[in-house]
């Protein structure tokens, strides 16, 4: 069976760089500031360390494996058990995506539309979600290739505008809030972190080159640093009032003198970040659709994106009044679910099969469109791969065949 390696390590690295930071810039900073105060950045570091360790283990464990995520699940849990796990994972992704979508909706409706706060203004997000969820994983890789540009520009511009207002003294003394509050803040923000789980969908599907793991890890660390820097700047700007600033993104650069003089051109940065964050927020729905399509395949691939987007939309608008209770659930008891599915399970899955996969157990039944060789399907980097060898897994032996 021909396995086209649909992605490149560079694309995965850029994917994390574009996706990891931006769901954490809306209400999370005020939430963690409310719990761990000036040590909120330490909480962020703790979460990021956990994620980076997960990425490191998954990458190292699956280094020699040709098996992808679905293969891993099937190998461990069997066909029926595997399907159940996939459905559970899909539910987890819906849970993971719900709060970030809600807060982005609130952000858009309440801060961007001052004159006319209408919920309908957020509907294009779901159109994008449905459209993107119908696309193959390779498109996500290609998107990452371009998405990191607005990500980096937006972030750097926003931070640069924030610098004049910083009062770094507000961050001192370090550790004032105590270890308990720092850990509590970390635990409460598990919903927003745990993006390392996305890595599961890339294993076995990207072309490993020299230092692939290093590239991905570095990208994740840089993305994590962006979150830490944002947390530091956020608290250094608002100090003890930080927990009140619900929409950190708009607030953080608002008081710069330059803006007072020539208008809010920081909105350029905010728009760029919103642009990237829309993709980041859609990712859980995307992977949920992918999982459901694999567990319970449907001929029309747009059905799941449509259903899930509608479901989230209805829940979001329906549960609008109960958002506070929902948030306390997601930052409380649900933290364990996020910890299990984002960190523990990927590590267990990778460790159990990744290092050494018996040949007879190697996954073979690949029916997914995204990795099936289709007529005219090409590998990314187009001409680069002309004549390159692609691996073929047949009877447990790895042969090399010429692509064309």
């Amino acid at each position: 069976m021909l396995r086209t390696q649909t992605l490149y390590d560079r694309q995965i690295a850029l994917f994390f760089l574009s996706v990891v930071p931006f769901t954490k810039f809306f209400t999370l900073p005020s939430l963690t500031a409310g719990i761990s105060g000036n040590d909120m950045w330490i909480s962020a570091i703790l979460n990021l360390v956990l994620d980076i360790v997960t990425v490191l283990i998954v990458l190292s464990a699956c280094k020699k494996s040709n098996v992808d995520f679905f293969g891993l699940i099937e190998n461990i849990f069997g066909k029926v058990g595997g399907k159940i796990v996939l459905i559970l994972y899909a539910i987890f992704f819906l849970l993971k995506g719900f709060i970030p979508i809600c807060e982005q909706k609130d952000y858009v409706v309440l801060t961007m539309y001052l004159a006319l706060p209408k919920i309908a203004m957020f509907l294009p997000f779901f159109v994008l979600a449905v459209y993107l969820c119908c696309k193959r994983l390779r498109v996500i890789g290609r998107l990452s290739d371009v998405l990191f540009i607005p990500t980096v520009i937006g972030f750097v511009l926003l931070m640069a505008l924030t610098i004049p207002n910083l009062e770094m003294g507000a961050l001192l003394p370090i550790g004032l809030s105590g270890a308990k509050n720092i850990f509590k803040a970390s635990y409460s923000s598990l919903n927003w972190y745990g993006d390392c789980v996305y890595l599961l969908f890339f294993i076995g599907r990207f072309k490993r080159e020299k230092r692939s793991n290093l590239k991905i890890i570095i990208a994740y660390i840089v993305a994590g640093l962006m979150v830490v820097v944002f947390s530091l700047f956020f608290y250094a700007t608002f100090s003890s009032l930080a927990f009140r600033k619900k929409f950190a993104l708009t607030e953080i650069s608002k008081y710069t003198t330059v803006i007072n003089n020539i208008g809010r051109f920081d909105f350029i940065a905010i728009f760029l970040i919103l642009f990237s964050s829309a993709f980041a927020t859609i990712m859980p729905i995307y992977f949920a659709c992918m999982l459901l399509q694999r567990a319970l395949p449907l001929k029309k691939h747009y059905i799941y994106p449509l259903i899930l987007s509608l479901l989230i939309m209805i829940l979001m608008f329906g549960l609008n009044e109960y958002f506070a209770s929902l948030e306390s659930f997601f930052t409380g008891i649900a933290g364990i679910i996020f910890l299990i599915f984002s960190n523990l399970l990927p590590i267990v899955l990778a460790l159990s099969t990744g290092f050494r996969v018996p040949n007879n157990k190697r996954y073979r039944g690949d029916k997914d469109n995204s990795i099936r060789k289709r007529d005219g399907e090409i590998n990314d980097n187009v001409g680069v791969d002309n004549g390159e060898n692609f691996s073929i897994v047949k009877g447990g032996k790895q042969n090399e065949i010429q692509k064309d």
Partner: protein, 495 residues
């Protein structure tokens, strides 16, 4: 259907098929035998007819075998035909056919002579430096222009006829050792499937070549310049020339192509890079500015600096339309003026620009129908889009979509529409080539000729975004003398 030995039977068949006043049936003698020369009067070169057919015929004294005919008719383009049913098509396409009594074959002489335009500078891509010649409507002329640029036996032309009635000659052109074989094969197959009454221009063919019928983005590149086409062919593309059209098509197509002007290759790389950045910026500005302006006015007043806001407020006082209607109608008027200026005769065009641009614009502002900033934005947006004329229609359409979204949903709607367009173009492929390459997928080596224009000596490889059979454009030894010396040293040592 074989040609009869009897001339009368052949004449009867052909008279029935070619019952038209412009077709001439000329009875002549070929030595002691009766012969019939058939040609279309208005498209045949009479001088050549006399020199190449009638004069040799008059010299024949006695005709016994085909060998004698070959002795007299030494025209290298002469063709021997045996299928009678093919003769009518040959004749109407300008071939003169000679039938001789007692011979079951015919000689065909392509003596076609159409009136053709001289080679001039193409109006769609004028250059300051560089070659000024452009393709014409005559396919042989276009082929000769290409042959003059690429004097290699690897340059291949493969012709086929498309069009049930027009029988237009379409020519596939590529360099054998560079173009991807599969692409050539695929294109040939696709061209053969085209079933249409007539092909009057290459754009007819391009509509059939696109793999996505509903796409608003271009899927086939085009050019009117032989130097540009030669360069594209050398990058691994396949060209399609159509008889009767001065525009050559190229496949595969990348979006970045249209941001590259022929001027860039004849100017300094610094100015070329700057020009390309300007083009990208101008197109982005043109597409998004009207939409963002309207959405800022309607939904996000906080984005507009106070001083500018006051100017806007003063200028929109008394305007009866909402900002979105105002912008929409202004854009509509601009598009109408644009369309009219293209269609109208040149001498009226000046009047249109004066009436449209000056009178209509200024009067509308003075009368309080349109605000001055709106008019300025429309003008700026219109001019910006013409920096890349090839994409004017596509981005003009997108501008309208963004404007409608911006006017109804504000900046977030625009951002999401931008995201949708991005997902669309990123996933878009034609002939297995991503539209957005080399940016998505990111192909670093191709950046040397993307928005950034590198030095010619740096571009040692053909674009990797396009599948081609030979990646090396400049042999390493011609650019890197040190490497060359080292390798030669090693060679000596090994020897």
């Amino acid at each position: 259907m074989k040609i009869y030995e009897s001339l009368e039977k052949n004449r009867k068949f052909l008279t029935e098929k070619l019952n038209s006043d412009d077709v001439c049936f000329l009875d002549v003698l070929a030595g002691d035998k009766n012969a019939l020369l058939i040609f279309v009067k208005d498209i045949t070169d009479k001088e050549s007819l006399g020199d190449l057919i009638l004069r040799p015929l008059s010299r024949i004294e006695k005709l016994e075998s085909e060998l004698e005919l070959k002795k007299y008719f030494i025209n290298p383009e002469r063709e021997r035909l045996t299928d009678l049913s093919k003769l009518p098509d040959k004749i109407v396409s300008g071939t003169s056919v000679l039938l001789i009594d007692g011979f079951s074959f015919a000689y065909a002489f392509p003596l076609v002579k159409y009136e053709k335009r001289a080679i001039t500078e193409p109006p769609t891509s004028t250059v300051i430096k560089g070659p000024r010649e452009g393709f014409t409507e005559c396919l042989p002329v276009n082929i000769s222009l290409l042959r003059r640029k690429l004097k290699t036996p690897d340059l291949r032309f493969e012709t086929l006829e498309i069009g049930e009635y027009s029988k237009t000659t379409v020519c596939l052109c590529y360099v054998k050792n560079i173009a991807d074989k599969n692409l050539v094969k695929k294109l040939k197959a696709k061209l053969k499937t085209i079933s249409i009454d007539a092909v009057f221009d290459s754009s007819y063919v391009s509509k059939f070549l696109g793999e996505h019928k509903t796409s608003i983005f271009k899927q086939v590149g085009n050019t009117e310049k032989p130097d540009v086409l030669s360069a594209k062919i050398l990058e691994g593309r396949v060209a399609i020339l159509v008889d009767g059209s001065p525009i050559a098509l190229t496949v595969p197509y990348l979006l970045i192509e249209d941001f590259q002007s022929p001027n860039d290759y004849y100017a300094s790389p610094y100015t070329a890079t700057l020009a390309r950045f300007l083009r990208v910026f101008a197109v982005a500005l043109s597409t998004l500015l009207p939409a963002f302006y309207v959405s800022a006015q309607l939904f996000h007043l906080q984005v507009i600096p106070l001083a500018f806001l006051l100017t806007i407020v003063n200028s929109i006082k008394g305007i009866p339309f909402s900002p979105s209607y105002e912008m929409f109608f202004s854009l509509l008027i601009f598009e109408i003026l644009n369309e009219a200026s293209v269609r109208m005769p040149k001498y009226v065009g000046m009047v249109v620009s004066i009436v449209g641009g000056l009178v209509l614009g200024e009067t509308a502002v003075n009368a309080g129908i349109i605000s001055a900033p709106t008019l300025m934005i429309i003008a700026l947006s219109g001019i910006c889009l013409f920096t890349v004329p090839e994409l004017e229609k596509t981005f003009g359409l997108l501008r309208l979509v963004f404007l409608i979204i911006g006017g109804s949903m504000g900046a977030y709607g625009i951002l999401m529409t931008m995201a949708l367009v991005l997902v669309y173009v990123v996933s878009f492929e034609n002939y297995s080539t991503p539209l957005m390459a080399p940016f998505s997928p990111l192909i670093k080596k191709d950046f040397k000729d993307s928005i950034y224009k590198g030095f010619m000596s740096e571009m040692t490889l053909r674009p990797l975004s396009i599948r081609n059979a030979n990646h090396v454009r400049i042999a390493p030894d011609s650019t890197n003398n040190e490497v060359n010396e080292k390798t030669s040293d090693k060679g000596e040592k090994n020897a």
